[in-house]
Every structure is written in C-alpha cells, then in structure tokens.
C-alpha cells in the first residue's frame, strides 16, 4: 500500500498525576493511519480510547512520544498553534454532540470558519450550507439544537466537523447517545464520507459499530493489543434498508 500517511504516533504515553497516584492511561502507542482509511478503536472502559483520541485530536498533549499529523510534528506545539491545527486539520465529533445552545444549526456549522486564521476570504454561509446538505439536513438549517432529534444534532455536529475540509475526522463514541436506528443512520453517513475519501477514526465499544470500519485497533491498559483488517465489513446503509420504519425517526424519510 503506497497511500499517503495522514498521521503517525511513536511511543505516545499519557500519565495523569492525581496527588500521589499516577494513572498510566497510555503506555506507548505506535499507530500509523493512511489517507482514506476508516479505523475503529475499541477496548474496555478505561483502556485509554478517549485519551488517545484527545491527543490525536490535538485537544491534549502527550506526556511523551512523538505525534506527526499531515507531515507536521504537533506534540510540542504551542497552545495557539494547536488551536490552528484543530481548526484546519481536525474534525471532531463527540458523544454528547457539543453544539452551542440557542444557536441555529447553520450558525453552529459556520463557527469553525469564523475562527479561520489562514487569511483566506471564505464564503462562510455557502460552505456551511453545503456541509449541512452533505449530512442531509438542508431543511433544518434554522433549527436550534433543542428543536432537533439526537440523530439530527449529531449530523449537525458532523457537518461542523466537515465544513473546514479536515485531514482527519475523529469521533469518540458518536452513537453512544443514540438509539439503534439513529445509530445506523449516523454510521451510514460515516461510511458514505469514507467512501468519498475521508479518513475516519471512530472510538466505540460496540462490535456492530466497529465492524463498519475496515481496520480495527484494540486497546487494553493503554497498549495496542490488536491491529487487523476486517474481513466481513458491515454496510450500515444496507442494514438501514432492512430496518422497519419507526415513527420516532419518521423525519429521516
């Protein structure tokens, strides 16, 4: 395989110090992800999945080790430069959606573009509309989060992650707060984006979710204990057609 390397970690460690006790959340992670891959990161609760995701997403610093994102070493960068990296290269989707309350879907999606410091003159409104169209929410643009279902809120969050065309899309348990049918919808969306060439990393502890990816990484006690390709990949879009239409999610029709 000679696809471009999007990100690479070498010996990444993270130790939380709480008073006298030290928690070794990550104990040396070596991970290479190529462009256009879709990875699932699985493991028991407390195995360090979120910690790894936060470091990959430039939200936190590793205690030791190197992290190279899009050919740039980011593990020693200043807070401000890291903010730029998050803005330009990373799309993060959270379990709890993390949308701004009392702010319309469109304004939420515009937000990353407002913090753009590249000096480009961006057609903010158009780009946000296009991102919302990609996640199938063109007709909900003026709705505020409390007027949207969980699945719709998560799709707004995905649109917000996509709007600045990041190098990598990260999702920490994106279906954790959703019911099974909405979960499948969101997974189908991730697979669709992946099919369009996006690099996607999804943290999950559900096997159903993990099998949507093409490669699976398993963590235990802060170490990678398994890294393999998935032989029988699940198609969420296909599963969606098999599911009966439920009244709760009728708006998806």
């Amino acid at each position: 395989m000679d696809r471009k390397v999007v990100m690479r970690t070498e010996g990444v460690r993270k130790t939380y110090v709480m008073g006298k006790t030290q928690v070794h959340a990550l104990r040396g992670i070596d991970l290479t992800v190529h462009q256009g891959e879709m990875l699932a990161i699985v493991g028991a609760s407390g195995s360090g999945k979120s910690t790894l995701m936060n470091i990959i997403g430039c939200l936190d610093y590793p205690t030791a080790g190197t992290y190279i994102l899009d050919d740039v070493r980011v593990d020693r960068m200043s807070r401000n430069m890291l903010a730029n990296i998050r803005n330009q290269k990373i799309g993060f989707v959270f379990q709890g959606f993390n949308l701004l309350a009392r702010t319309s879907a469109l304004e939420n999606v515009e937000l990353p573009l407002l913090y753009d410091r590249s000096g480009r003159k961006l057609p903010v409104r158009t780009m946000a509309k296009e991102a919302l169209e990609r996640v199938g929410l063109a007709d909900r643009m003026d709705h505020e989060p409390n007027e949207l279902s969980g699945g719709q809120q998560q799709r707004v969050a995905i649109a917000r992650a996509l709007v600045s065309s990041p190098a990598i899309l990260l999702a920490d348990e994106p279906t954790g707060n959703l019911d099974s049918r909405t979960s499948v919808e969101v997974l189908a969306l991730f697979q669709e984006l992946h099919a369009q060439g996006m690099t996607v990393l999804v943290v999950t502890h559900e096997k159903d979710v993990a099998t949507c990816a093409e490669r699976i990484i398993e963590l235990r006690d802060g170490r990678i204990i398994r890294d393999e390709r998935i032989s029988h990949r699940r198609s969420a879009a296909h599963d969606l057609q098999l599911l009966p239409e439920s009244p709760v999610t009728a708006e998806a029709a």
Partner: protein
C-alpha cells in the same frame, strides 16, 4: 477572528441571555444615570451663580474696610471702618483707569407712600452707580450731581418696592416718606432679580449718599466703595492703582499693611464657585460609588457566566478558538454591555434631571463633556471589570472545559 465577526458573536451571546444582560446592565444604568443627574445639578448651580455674578455689574471692583484675611486668619475683625468720602473723591480725581466710582452707605428703613408701607434697604450712592451696576431705569431719571451736592430729598425706587407701593403705576412725581423724611420719586429701576444667596436685588431704594448720611443715618463713614473699569482687561491695573491711592489717602507708611480690601467680581465668583465645585465633586463622587458597584455587578455576572459557559468555551476551543479569541469575546461582551448600559443611563440621567429640575425648580445643566466622560467611564468599567473573568475563560484547557459538567 475579524472584529466585525467578534462584535457579532458577542452581541449574539448578549441577545441570547436577555434577562442576564438586563440585570448586568442595571448597575451601570443606575450608576451612570446617578452621575449624570448629580453633575447636572452641580453644573446647574455653577452656571446659575455665574449668571448672578455677571448680573452684579460690569467689571466691578469692590473696596471694603479692613484688611483681607491672610493665611485663613481674618485680621479685618479688629480694624475699624475707615472708608470716607475723601477716599472716593481721591479715587475719582486721581485714577486714570477707573471710569466710575461710587460710595455706598446702607440703612434699612420703613417707606410709606402710595398703597401703604414697606421695609427696604436704602442705598446711598453717587451718580456713577447705574453705570457701575449696569442698571437701567424703567421710569423717570437718576439723580444728578446737583442732587448729590444739594443733598436733595430725591429717591429712585427698586422694582419690588415700586410694585409694592404703586402696583401697576408709574410713581414718578409722587412723594414717599423714607423713615421721617419725605422724598420725591424721580425714577424706578429695571428689575434685576435675585442674587446667588437668594436676596431680592430689587427690594431696594436709591438716594444720594449725601442725603442718606445727613438725613437718615447721621454718620459720615462709608460701608463700601464700588468702582468699574471700561474693560475687564483693566481690572488688575485698576485694583493696584486704587490700592495705591487708598494707602496714600489713609496715610499708611510702607511698614503698615492695607487697612482696606480691594476685590473684583472674579474674586467673588471664585469664592462662590469654589463651593459649587466642591458640591459637584462630592455629588459626582457619591454617584461614582454606584457606578463602581455597577462595575462589580458586571464582574460578578461575567464570572458566573464564565463558569456557566465553560462547555461553550470548550466547544469553541475544540473547533479552533485560541485563548486570545475567547478573551476578546468575553471582553467585548462586557464592554458592549457596559457601554449599552451607559447609554441607557445617560438617557435616564437626562430624563431624571429634567424631572428633578421641574419638581424642585433647580437649574440643571448637562454638558457634552459630561456625556462623553460618562460613556468613556462605562467603557472603562467594562474593560476593567470584564478583564479578570475574560482572562479566566481564556486560560481554560480545551479538554478540561469540554469535560466540565
């Protein structure tokens, strides 16, 4: 972030929490309103007094007996009255600058005539008096040199006295009785209004000082000498010249201090304005305390709002906001709120001082400077009290802020 986007983001967040915004601004609104009203009262008093002092006459110089107070100790108390007609005549003769000079002798007495009787102050003055006080006649004429020389029993009535004794009539040509002395009314003065301390300047009658000295008070000493110069620029020179003439007239050797005081209108104004300035300052200081309390209110709410909005800060940072962006956002929010509050406060200050003016009859003045200072001050309050909470918000770690429940 561009400044236009910044203002947009800040005003969005202000509008999204109308109640919080309103409560935050209330302190500033009340503070600025109070400052405006207080300063309006102070400045109103100031301009009122200025008007009344200008009303005294043009380029007025006042000579009174006794030394001026020095170092706060009045040495005039033990000096006896030493102004005489001789002094007046010497000034009139020798001064090159002074254009008019008049002695003043007072006495309070009963006046009978027309509709009844009235108590008024009798001012014995010379023919220069109307020039010095810039006081025109409504009816008749003022007394002339021969009236003064002959000690004629002629009287010019102040407007109030004329209205009391002869309401709605022209009393010229009638006779009134001043204490026991019958006197011909030869003129009536134009009304001049009240002085700074509220005394009615029109409650007065004027007679030749010679007549007052010989027929009413019976003594030759003079209470005051009034003089005036053609232009206000001449006043300092005239004061010096008068002082020299007076020293000569009183035969003072060079080791002796003046036994009289020469003051001008501005000295009077300064004394009076000193009081109103202190009053304005005091009122403004009291009102500023409420502005300070308003500022602390802003800081309080902003601090609460930083905690309350920790998650929002985390979200903004996660998608690329730098600490500086968060700092500016919170700072702009607090400045916008305090300036908006300041503007409402100015509106309320205007309304409040005009209502107060109507109810109490006080004169109130709001100058553009006051408004500018009030606006600047509320912006400063916003920056000062908004900075600490804003810095606290900016210092948050994205991951901690996101995890905050």
């Amino acid at each position: 972030m561009k400044s236009s986007t910044l203002i947009k983001v800040a005003s969005q967040s202000i509008l999204k929490n109308k109640m919080r915004t309103l409560l935050t601004m209330l302190g500033i609104v009340i503070g600025v309103g109070a400052v405006i009203v207080m300063v309006a009262i102070g400045q109103g008093a100031h301009s009122q007094i200025q008007k009344q002092i200008n009303n005294l006459g043009t380029n007025l110089i006042i000579i009174t007996p006794g030394a001026s107070s020095q170092g706060g100790v009045s040495r005039g108390a033990q000096s006896y009255n030493r102004l005489t007609v001789k002094d007046v005549e010497k000034i009139k003769r020798e001064s090159l600058i002074v254009s008019a000079v008049s002695p003043v002798v007072f006495t309070r007495t009963q006046i009978i005539g027309g509709q009844g009787n009235w108590r008024a102050t009798v001012n014995g003055v010379s023919t220069d008096f109307p020039i010095i006080r810039n006081w025109d006649l409504k009816y008749g004429r003022f007394f002339d040199q021969s009236d003064v020389r002959q000690m004629r029993r002629v009287v010019v009535l102040g407007h109030t006295v004329a209205e009391e004794l002869f309401p709605g009539e022209d009393p010229v040509g009638t006779t009134v009785q001043v204490r026991t002395v019958p006197a011909d009314v030869i003129g009536v003065l134009e009304p001049k209004g009240q002085t700074a301390d509220g005394t009615d300047q029109d409650d007065v009658i004027l007679m030749p000082y010679t007549t007052v000295q010989t027929r009413l008070s019976g003594w030759s000493r003079i209470f005051q000498i009034l003089a005036s110069t053609p232009s206000s620029r001449d006043i300092p020179a005239a004061q010096a010249e008068i002082a020299a003439i007076m020293r000569e007239s009183h035969g003072l050797s060079q080791w002796e201090d003046d036994d009289f005081t020469v003051r001008n209108q501005n000295d009077l104004a300064e004394a009076a304005q000193g009081t109103t300035e202190i009053m304005t300052l005091l009122l403004a200081a009291i009102a500023s305390i409420s502005l300070l309390v308003g500022g602390i209110g802003i800081m309080n709410i902003m601090l609460v709002s930083v905690t309350e909005r920790t998650r929002e800060i985390g979200i903004r940072m996660a998608i690329g906001a730098r600490g500086r962006d968060v700092l500016t956002q919170f700072l702009v929010e607090s400045i916008v709120m305090s300036v908006l509050g300041g503007m409402i406060g100015i509106g309320i200050g205007f309304a409040g001082s005009s209502v107060l003016g109507q109810v109490t009859g006080w004169h109130t003045v709001i100058s553009p400077t006051t408004v500018m200072i009030a606006l600047g001050f509320s912006a400063a309050v916003g920056i000062f009290f908004g900075f600490y909470p804003a810095r606290k918000a900016a210092a948050l770690n994205p991951i901690d802020a996101l995890r905050y429940e």
